[in-house]
Subunit: 198 residues, 2 copies
Amino acid sequence: MSKELVFGHKSPDTDAIVAAMAYAYLQSKLGYDVEAVALGEPNMETSFVLKHFGVAAPRVVKTVSNEVDSVMLVDHNEPQQSADDIDKVTVTHVVDHHRINGFNTAAPLYYRAEPVGCVSTIITNMFAENKIDIPAQLAGLMLSAIISDTLLLKSPTTTDKDREAVKALAQIADVDYQSYGIEMLKAGTNLSAKSDAE
Amino acid sequence: MSKELVFGHKSPDTDAIVAAMAYAYLQSKLGYDVEAVALGEPNMETSFVLKHFGVAAPRVVKTVSNEVDSVMLVDHNEPQQSADDIDKVTVTHVVDHHRINGFNTAAPLYYRAEPVGCVSTIITNMFAENKIDIPAQLAGLMLSAIISDTLLLKSPTTTDKDREAVKALAQIADVDYQSYGIEMLKAGTNLSAKSDAE
Ligand SMILES: [Mn+2]
Ligand SMILES: [Mn+2]
Ligand SMILES: [Mn+2]
Ligand SMILES: [Mn+2]
């Protein structure tokens, strides 16, 4: 099995970056040779999250066909949101929570989508289905992605599965998700910097 | 939650009919109001299977928007293989093992595809994930679908997951899958009738 890259959409948000890291970790445990990368630099919120849990940002790539023949997508499926040369590689796996639009394949693939608030919620359940433990640090990142996508479980896209995942991940990461969540969302909107400027 | 219809592709094979019945059973256990239907009459093989396990064929429909607002697809995703008025309803769930082609949605949905030999293999695993028992009669039907799609585990699309599902289902159904499988495939090709005619 040759190496595959795992990545989220362009202009990555916290879920796009974290879900790639989480899915790459899960797939490596299942025997795949994978590396999580990103199609852009982390935004302010994601930088805060990575720093908080002491994790390095994934390598940024613009194209993928110069490195690999096949890839795994998280948090997107639409070609225009993906790598510039996505048409030159085979997509073998997708984990997503968006509508399917313009995504066509030449061959069968693994595709997992659920109408939930965050891809990291789906991946949390996939760890359980495969009976693989989530390391505390990774749980902290995945918790952050759900807080980001659901605005601390307050967005209309939030489901019971997101709420359950947040509780489970907060316990593994040993984080008070309410206070951490507010701090994290503030870092993303850079409220403090704005207040300084205003 | 309003009622939804569950169905496989036009010119249904055994998997298209059986997977609809199996997924409808699973979804009903998960709280959905669903009915398995078919986009055509059972072929010779499927008729043999239904008769063997004493199960009535699902109701045949040509259109669905006259009955329901939303539907669940099994064993296909391409609109031209689906109900004639598939564009007039919302697809909420798909379970499939084919490439994705021309399938677009307006909203997020549940989509589960795996590159395995048969949809009934995927549904077998979904029963386990949801800790729901498969009734013996239904296990016999699902076993038949896998035998049909994989030509008794001999097609190049056969995976270890299909082999494991066949063993598990044969045990639940209390069927010797080798001898039953040959009998079933013969009924489908109507070898006996051909021999008579030749
Ligand atoms: Mn995103
Ligand atoms: Mn997301
Ligand atoms: Mn079929
Ligand atoms: Mn099939």
